[in-house]
């Protein structure tokens, strides 16, 4: 109910939306309220006079006023508040002047007075003045045209005019003054606005310039990857760009929790660095450690009033100081310390710009550090690679010269002994022959050792190179192997050697002839060495482009736990080596050689029954053929 009445009242006294001016809105609302009150009252008065006539001449004052009110209300409601106000005041004045005039002067004056009050409130000064003049003219006319039957004493009139006039004049003056003040205020506000706009423009310009400076510094600096250069450049360029007295760059050493002076602008900076201006992070005095600890910018625009500021004898003209932390990736890289010789130099804008710059600088410094680390790592890698290459070179040179140096004396040892032994240099008795045979035997053993040690060294260093030939006659090699076997078994009539293959069916293969001979000789001589009775079988089969060679003996066999051991270098037992004449390297080398060809060497053995070795070699491996095409064999 209350809400509905409120809504009704609001809609009735609503101001037309076209009125934007606050003052005018006020007036319009005032008018609307006035009419909203007066119209119902007058409606009641009119109804009363209609329903209960008092006799006498019916006055048309009330209805006319009523109609005028309605019209004025509607006009106001439409948004023409000034027109409405003027219409109401002048209309009312005109009607009253014509009507009540005739009947009651004091009533007329009173009403006129009320009208004037309203006019002062609702109309402009000009309108009020016009109304005043018109009213005076009307009064004057009335005074002249009407008989002096007015029950007004001249004193009253004068008193009324003077008092009324004074009040009205005072009122209008007051209003005029208010209006003038308002106009002045508007002018002032405009002026203030213009000034603040101007200063804002100025600030924007300055800020832009500072940003450009910062970008300039940043751009120059981010290309420098050498840390020392970078930090010095930061100090010098920041000082120049922002017209500062001095700039120092401190780096933060995490391990020692120390701030270290890394660079400073100008010669003073150099001097300070030489003296070593370092201090711990938790140092209480000083803006720099504080900035480092709190990771925010610390500003002292007037150092004489700042208790934590520590004056520096090398920088006597510092009046304002700003310490900005440089943070990248949440890590404190260091602190940028800026000093100006003017108090209050560091405005909010400058602090903001420099903080942004500090971020960039932090990243640049971090980049330089990372670059340094990467460079160092790379250089180390290169050095290591060089060293490895040098070591490899030394190794192959060593192998080559060792081979030569170790073999050369054996030529004389073996052959001259042989000469004597065969009686070439004079007759030798049996004992002498025997002794010389033993010498030659030991010499051959030594040669075998030298060869095997060199081979295993090459194999383990990945320096084994095969000398590959096409059309290697495997059957020829087998012939000489068989011959060797028979020589070895000449003292063991209980052991039979059987060649289980057909020579015509054995193809020529692509291989390193010498190495294949080495493999077969090793297997066959082992079999001959260790077999005391029974049979040694050498069989060859060709299958799937692979040559399968099997050397089977009826020797003592190899226990299961040694099956892998025998293929490992230097694993033959001391006894086995001494009296067996082996080197302990034959099998490991043989396996590697077979594998180097793209083949394999495997073994099966049962203690008490014997041992069987299985060799596979490709007949014509593409990889080996490639090696021949590279000019490795004829």
């Amino acid at each position: 109910m209350k809400q509905t009445f409120k809504n009704f009242w609001n809609s009735v006294t609503a101001v037309h939306p076209s009125i934007q001016d606050v003052e005018e809105r006020g007036y319009s609302k005032l008018l609307a309220m006035l009419f909203s009150y007066l119209i119902p009252v007058f409606t009641l008065v009119v109804l009363r006079s209609l329903l209960f006539p008092t006799g006498g001449t019916p006055t048309i004052l009330a209805p006319m006023l009523f109609v005028l009110m309605l019209v004025a209300y509607v006009i106001n409601h439409q948004g023409y508040s000034k027109v409405s106000a003027n219409l109401w005041i002048f209309g009312t004045a005109a009607i009253v002047t014509n009507e009540a005039f005739m009947h009651n002067t004091s009533y007329m004056l009173l009403v006129l007075f009320l009208i004037f009050m309203q006019a002062v409130l609702l109309l402009s000064i000009r309108s009020v003045s016009i109304l005043g003049i018109l009213s005076l003219i009307a009064l004057a006319l009335y005074a002249v045209t009407q008989p002096p039957a007015l029950p007004i004493s001249p004193t009253f009139s004068i008193f009324f005019f003077v008092l009324g006039g004074t009040i009205l004049i005072a009122f209008t003056n007051y209003r005029a003054k208010i209006e003038a003040e308002q106009r002045q205020e508007l002018l002032n506000a405009n002026e203030a606005l213009r000034q603040s706009e101007a200063s804002l423009e100025q600030r924007v310009k300055e800020r832009t310039r500072d940003l450009e400076l910062a970008i300039g510094v940043s751009r120059q600096i981010t290309t420098i990857l050498d840390q020392d250069q970078l930090l010095k450049a930061i100090a010098d360029q920041t000082k120049e760009a922002f017209h500062l007295y001095h700039v120092s760059v401190f780096t933060y050493q995490e391990k020692q929790q120390q701030m270290m002076l890394a660079a400073g602008s100008g010669e003073t900076g150099e001097k300070m660095r030489e003296l070593g201006y370092d201090f711990p992070l938790h140092l209480e005095k000083g803006l720099v450690p504080h900035a480092g600890r709190t990771r925010t910018s610390i500003l002292a625009n007037d150092v004489s009033t700042n208790p934590t500021h520590t004056p520096n004898p090398l920088l006597p003209q510092t009046r304002a100081e700003l310490a900005v932390p440089m943070i990248a990736n949440n890590t404190l890289i260091g602190v940028l310390d800026l000093q100006s010789d003017s108090v209050n130099y560091f405005s909010d804008d400058i602090v903001r710009v420099i903080s942004m710059l500090a971020e960039q600088l932090a990243i640049a410094v971090e980049n330089a550090t990372l670059f340094d680390e990467v460079e160092t790592a790379r250089r180390e890698q290169v050095a290591v690679a060089e060293k490895l290459r040098a070591v490899d070179n030394m190794k192959s040179q060593f192998l080559a010269s060792m081979s030569h140096e170790l073999r050369t004396p054996l030529n004389a040892i073996l052959n001259f002994t042989k000469f004597v032994q065969t009686g070439m240099l004079g007759p030798v008795n049996d004992k002498q022959k025997d002794a010389l045979n033993k010498t030659i035997g030991s010499g051959k053993h030594l040669l075998a050792l030298i060869n095997d040690v060199l081979d295993i060294t090459k194999i383990e260093s990945d320096m084994l190179n095969l000398f590959v030939e096409e059309d290697v006659s495997l059957s020829e090699e087998l012939e000489s192997i068989v011959a060797t076997a028979e020589t070895l078994l000449s003292e063991k009539p209980e052991v039979k050697f059987v060649g289980d293959y057909e020579a015509e069916l054995i193809p020529d293969i692509v291989c390193d002839k010498r190495r294949v001979r080495q493999i077969l000789l090793n297997l066959v001589s082992n079999a001959c060495k260790f077999t005391e009775e029974g049979q040694i079988t050498l069989s060859i089969r060709i299958e799937n482009e692979m040559v399968n060679i099997v050397v089977k003996d009826t020797g003592p066999g190899i226990p299961a736990e040694d099956h892998e051991l025998i293929f490992e270098p230097f694993r033959q037992s001391h006894a086995g080596m001494t009296n067996g004449g082996g080197t302990g390297l034959g099998l490991p080398i043989a396996r590697r050689l077979a594998e180097a060809h793209g083949g394999s060497l495997a073994m099966e053995s049962v203690v008490g029954q014997g041992t069987t070795f299985f060799v596979t070699l490709p007949v014509a491996s593409a990889k080996l053929l490639d090696m021949t095409k590279m000019g490795k064999a004829s």
């Binding site: 192959s396 192998l399 080559a400 081979s403 030569h404 140096e405 073999r407 050369t408 054996l410 030529n411 004389a412 040892i413 073996l414 052959n415 001259f416 042989k418 000469f419 070439m424 030659i440 051959k444 040669l447 060869n451 060199l454 090459k458 084994l464 190179n465 000398f467 030939e469 000489s480 011959a483 060797t484 020589t487 002839k513 010498r514 080495q518 000789l521 000019g631 490795k632 064999a633 004829s634």
Partner: protein, 138 residues
Amino acid sequence: MLLKNKRVFIVEDDAGNLAIASVYLRQQGATVFYERWGRDTPQMILKHLPIDVILMDLMFPNNVSGFDIFDQIRQFKQLEHIPVVAVSAADPDSAMPKALAKGFSGFISKPISPRISKHIARIIEGKKVWAAEDMTGF
């Protein structure tokens, strides 16, 4: 007599090695000439033509290498066609490919055995012999 009437030229600086090789080759009927220092080799060989095969050590004093001497020999038209065999204690794995690439007709490892004559005979026949170790039946 594997090398009957064959003429062999040995280029070798060590007297012992020279003696050994000469003995074995002569045992098989070859006539052996030699030059010890590797300096005037082509001239010496020219003096003893015709030669069926040249045996060349690979290491000589004063940093002279058998490969250099080989080049010198091949400069001469009359010596172009004579097969040259390397006889060396050098590691066959590294020396044989080099010798092959150079144009040697074979490589025989030191220490040598009497079988050297067999290899030389084959080379004179025109075959290539890349025989590294050969102590079988020594």
